[in-house]
Symmetry: C2
Subunit: 148 residues, 2 copies
DNA sequence: CTGACTGCAAAATCTTTGCAAAGAC
DNA sequence: GTCTTTGCAAAGATTTTGCAGTCAG
């Protein structure tokens, strides 16, 4: 996993390259995602940040704008839940895919080399310039099966 | 591909089992998706249906309600585009995955046996009761690459 | 200083809901 | 007839935008 200091350097250089500014809000949002290995909606991030930094008062619009910036920079990635919006996670870790539980919304990550390779082949076959790929296995997790 | 008459029978029996009613609106929406092998947003469906059946005046709410019903019945499936909503397609064809172009939003379908098998294995490994799975390869399609 | 960023509130999207009238069975 | 469905418009939910003040470089 990328070191926090290295991450900040990387972020700062992206900021600089694009004539943007390095602000406290942006840092705090990035820091939170870096430190929490999980998936969050913008609204969840907003309330979590309010808990941790009650004095900062980061606006929800800033959360959205920062997440977009971070996603465009490739630092965070998102997973979408149809109508119910998106969840974001820190993105500079090994590529992986997701298992999503329809009952409790829990997300489990996995990685499979065969699938990764196949995806490349398929993109090539259709002459697609692949920028990303996602795979979601939807179902009922072990825990929720027990409850039934 | 399932025959249209068989499809209607299937739909009618689902309707009956659930104490629902078979209405013209529901039929027209299903018919449209059956006849058009493509992916549509609710809004697109709405305007297409208005073009084909200018006298029917199907409300957008009915489109949403019917799509939800059809999706729950397993007759249509949806693919989500993050914040920008969902697209629906007729679902009773061979399972397949999607290539999505970020430039023109075109969707190409593909099927790969190896990936299908791997998904089953992974679900099993995590003791997930898989109900569905999706895979999206995101990138720039052949056509849009040329334009650049 | 200058131009980007922020919080706020308003606006824009997209989707769902309440309700009276219409339609299926 | 009874109970579901419909279209409409209003309400909700989520995300984006405009703007004046603030802040980073």
């Amino acid at each position: 996993m990328i070191d926090y200091d290295v991450l900040i350097e990387k972020f700062k250089s992206i900021i600089k390259e694009n004539g943007l500014k390095y602000t406290k809000q942006r840092e705090l949002i990035l820091k939170f995602l870096y430190e929490h290995d999980d998936h969050f909606t913008p609204e969840e991030l907003n309330s979590e940040l309010k808990k941790i930094y009650p004095d900062e008062n980061i606006g929800i619009a800033t959360i959205y704008r920062t997440l977009t910036l971070l996603e465009d920079s490739g630092i965070v990635t998102s997973i979408s839940f149809g109508t119910q919006g998106k969840k974001y996670e820190f993105g500079l870790k090994k590529h992986h895919d997701h298992l999503v539980c329809v009952k409790c919304s829990k997300i489990i990550e996995f990685y499979d080399e065969t699938i990764e390779k196949k995806q490349l082949e398929i993109a090539k076959k259709f002459e697609f310039q692949m920028t990303d790929h996602t795979m979601k296995i939807i179902g009922i997790c072990k825990n929720c099966q027990k409850k039934q």
